[in-house]
Symmetry: C2
Subunit: 196 residues, 2 copies
């Protein structure tokens, strides 16, 4: 994560840009899904994916039957975005009303991961720690149907919005509550299900 290059320099609200790799890693480690976007026939597509992190790469997987994953595997330019919504920032004006969030945008091209098992284990451990050791590992056929991709964190933009509500002199006379409504993703009690 070097100095931001032109494509990842934050132009809007540049004071929200963060250059600390520890913050980048914390955001990625705290998220569960990201959105990977790719261009096909001039049209962008952004699809949700589970992911993991291994050092300075993010890892995700998809089916060999997926057109978009095949394009990713061919090295097409992509963008991987993780956004954590931390709260609503209620200001006295509509204009200053905003959100607390942490976001990561990674630009680049994916590399195909040949050594699939450790990468799939990393994705699994990211989402449900400890689960990989107890489930049936992928069969040879299942592995063959799975594309595993790695995207380097070389070109990234990290933004953190965590400040108080903004105000302006025009807000005088609008005596309205201001503050933050925190958002939190809760994992509820596990629900046992009959298998399909």
């Amino acid at each position: 994560m070097g100095a931001p290059v032109d494509r990842t320099r934050v132009r809007r609200l540049p004071e929200l840009q963060v250059d600390d790799p520890a913050v980048l890693h914390d955001i990625l480690d705290a998220g569960t899904i990201g959105h990977v976007s790719i261009v096909h026939d001039g049209q962008p597509y952004a699809i949700p994916v589970a992911y993991g992190r291994s050092g300075s790469s993010v890892l995700f997987h998809g089916s060999t039957g997926s057109r978009l994953f095949r394009l990713l595997a061919q090295g097409a330019p992509c963008c991987f975005t993780v956004t954590l919504l931390d709260g609503l920032v209620l200001a006295r004006s509509a204009f200053e009303t905003s959100m607390h969030y942490r976001s990561v945008m990674v630009l680049g091209s994916c590399a195909v991961v040949d050594d699939k098992l450790p990468a799939l284990a990393a994705i699994s451990e990211h989402i449900v720690p400890g689960r990989w050791a107890v489930v049936r590992p992928p069969s040879r056929k299942e592995l063959a149907a799975t594309l595993v991709l790695a995207l380097s964190l070389a070109e990234v933009s990290v933004k953190v919005s965590a400040g108080p509500p903004g105000t302006s002199p025009e807000d005088a006379g609008f005596d309205v509550w201001t503050g933050v409504v925190p958002f939190r993703v809760e994992r509820g009690e596990p629900i046992e299900c009959e298998e399909e």
Copy 2:
């Protein structure tokens, strides 16, 4: 929301595709942020945005100073994705481990909304119902700095994954708990803040 055209037909796991506009509207109404993606110099970018819905369009806004929003305003092809993560589906195999989610992907080009106030009110009401009536409305200068965009829901793909864990004959012998860990986004107690 007619029959899916080629670009929005779900090829992978087509049984998850939903054609009911009520489901589309419910997902959009339940979400808080989406990701809008756009192509610039062959590179896709996906950025988080707050949004609202007005009938059969989604609405979002950005700064006139944003390069990506200016491209959107010029009618560049875009993709707007909302993903609600409802739970983790823990199967007996790594391969069948999955997630419960509801997702909407809208393809198209944005139209610039000239009548900005009702659209901004719709976005505000979507996120914090009742707030628009009590905050200071945008000034003429603030409105001039804001691009408001509408994206028709004409070309959409809706997927809902809500089934039980899958299993296969190879799972015999893996006597591991299976079920769903539900995810829920909680809005916490509001925190009063000093203004900036």
